[in-house]
Amino acid sequence: MTIPASWFLILAALLFGIGAFGVLTRRSALIMFMCIELMLNAVNLTFVTFARTMSDIGGQTSVFFIMVVAAAEVTVGLGIVVAVFRRRASTSVDELSELQG
């Protein structure tokens, strides 16, 4: 018998939790992007698990599209980080406070 779906779902939940904790506590924009990748991968894992459990190929197709969107997001995000670093010489998100009210 194969591994039950709940094991993979709990693993994905833990991975999502670690990623969320990193986004909330780390202050470097680069590390925050990496943690967002971790959270996206946790969601991908649940999609694949449900594709197997529900026997529906749509879950795997969704993972395919999530990967494309993640690649685009990282490209633009790192472009923004480079542009900010050029002005501020720092990747800390706490120092980007021009818009605070």
Partner: protein, 209 residues
């Protein structure tokens, strides 16, 4: 007990994937050096690929390694080394008092809630979908053909939209990361432009805003 219920290779593969994923993920948020974080991210992504293989999503496991470990993490490493941020200079600054504890508490509550939801729901019990009208998954491995069929028939519009999204992302990234044309253009760019001027003088006129 486990050995009688589940096949030993399956359990071992799952344990390996769990170890890779969790150790890599903790490494991402715990390492001081961003390069080490990026390498830990590769480890975690390899674990996710193993978990995909375990669930017979072969194509997605390959794409996971090629796109994430091969392209995205390399992009991260390129930006880290391009910017020269070797050590994080702001390791434990907390703008809000007790932010770390609140974050830990919130994450713990969220994960516990999700697990509780899973334990009390029927949709993890493996009931096949009958009402969604989706294509049924082929048993065993080898659903690459099925995935291709799905992408190019049912989800064709979304697939074409991703083409547009990628073009916009590439153009936006180039526009964002390009150096602005101000007075302090550095020497290397000047030299390069002289060479380009000599080579093709009519193509260097820029209409910059």
């Amino acid at each position: 007990m486990l050995a009688t219920t589940y096949a030993i290779p399956d359990v071992l593969v799952f344990a390996a994937a769990t170890l890779l994923i969790l150790v890599g993920a903790i490494g991402v948020i715990a390492m001081k050096n961003p390069v080490h974080s990026a390498l830990s991210l590769i480890m975690s992504l390899l674990g996710v690929a193993v978990a995909f293989l375990e669930q017979s999503a072969d194509f997605l496991a390959a794409v996971e390694i090629i796109v994430y470990a091969g392209a995205i993490v390399v992009l991260f490493l390129f930006v880290i080394m391009f910017l020269g941020v070797d050590k994080s200079k702001h390791p434990h600054v907390e703008p809000l008092v007790g932010q770390r504890w609140f974050a830990g508490l919130g994450v713990a509550i969220t994960v516990a809630g999700v697990v509780f939801l899973m334990a009390n729901s029927h949709w993890v019990s493996g009931v096949p979908s009958t009402s969604t009208g989706g294509t049924a998954l082929a048993p065993g491995s080898g659903n690459v053909t099925q995935l291709g069929d799905s992408v190019f028939t049912t989800y064709l519009l979304a697939f074409e939209a991703t083409a547009g999204l990628l073009i916009i992302a590439v153009v936006g990234a180039v526009l964002l990361a390009r150096r602005e044309r101000t007075a302090e253009v550095d020497e290397a760019t000047d030299d390069l432009e002289v060479i380009i001027d000599d080579w093709a003088p009519e193509e260097t006129e820029e209409v910059d805003s």
